[in-house]
């Protein structure tokens, strides 16, 4: 069984454009739906708040791992850290990697999230319980937003 998520998507935009959308903290915030305090820097903590309607209390926190221009952007984080009272800092985070490759039509983006086997059991269950219903609602928000502001 897979303990990682892998995605690939073809983007009709040059690698430099995609790189900026991924690593400029304001641009990242636009499509990821998070308001970040400041620029991404390798080895530094990135903080902010989720900007989904109804989820504004949810903090964003990640540690930027690698920034290899136009090739690799990676960070570690705690997926579904939605409980403001819980301390997620002691848990082993998952690793998110964005890899870029130039193609004839633009850019091939490969996304990997790995390390789910390290999440403590209580949290996994909690994360699951909290999000099972929540996501359905959130999908509608996302869909609405994308249609309005393509």
């Amino acid at each position: 069984m897979n303990d990682r998520i892998e995605k690939s998507i073809e983007l009709k935009a040059p690698v430099s454009r995609v790189w900026r959308a991924l690593t400029d903290y304001r641009e990242f915030g636009e499509w990821f739906r998070v308001k970040l305090d400041g620029p991404f820097m390798a080895g530094q903590v990135s903080r902010g708040y989720i900007t989904y309607p109804g989820y504004e209390h949810v903090k964003w926190e990640a540690v930027v791992q690698k920034m290899e221009p136009e090739r690799l952007f990676s960070f570690t984080w705690h997926p579904y850290s939605v409980d403001p009272k819980a301390d997620y800092s002691k848990e082993t985070p998952t690793l998110v990697e964005f890899k870029l490759e130039a193609t004839a039509g633009g850019t091939l983006l490969l996304l990997t999230e790995s390390g789910f086997d390290k999440i403590p059991s209580d949290r996994r269950l909690e994360a699951f319980r909290r999000n099972e219903g929540g996501w359905t609602e959130q999908m509608k928000n996302i869909e609405g937003h994308v249609t309005q502001k393509p």
Binding site: I5, L11, F32, L109, L111, G133
Partner: protein, 115 residues
Amino acid sequence: MSHKSRSGIASRRRAHAPVFAALGDETRLSLVAKLSVGRPCSISQLTGGSRLTRQAITKHLRVLEGAGIVHSVRAGREKLFEFHPEPMEEIRRYLDLVSEQWDQALSRLKSFVEE
């Protein structure tokens, strides 16, 4: 969050986390494969045809038991091991959720850079 989903999760409350770890081993995966197709097996049956010792198999079964993937039942003097698929189904659903989240985020990224 609906009542249905909440009670659904509560009723299946079990250790979730060790499931990935338990399955991240070829021997254990092959034990799961054996148990998932047939009836409950004894340690001797599981050791048969394997190069591993009874002790090694026992150790692996204990890990699978800890993750809730395998349950042991008594049949007379013998201890039999049977497959329980629920923990695997749950982590699959969990990953599906995270996966879905990424699909949405990447599709927003696509619109963002292609506009």
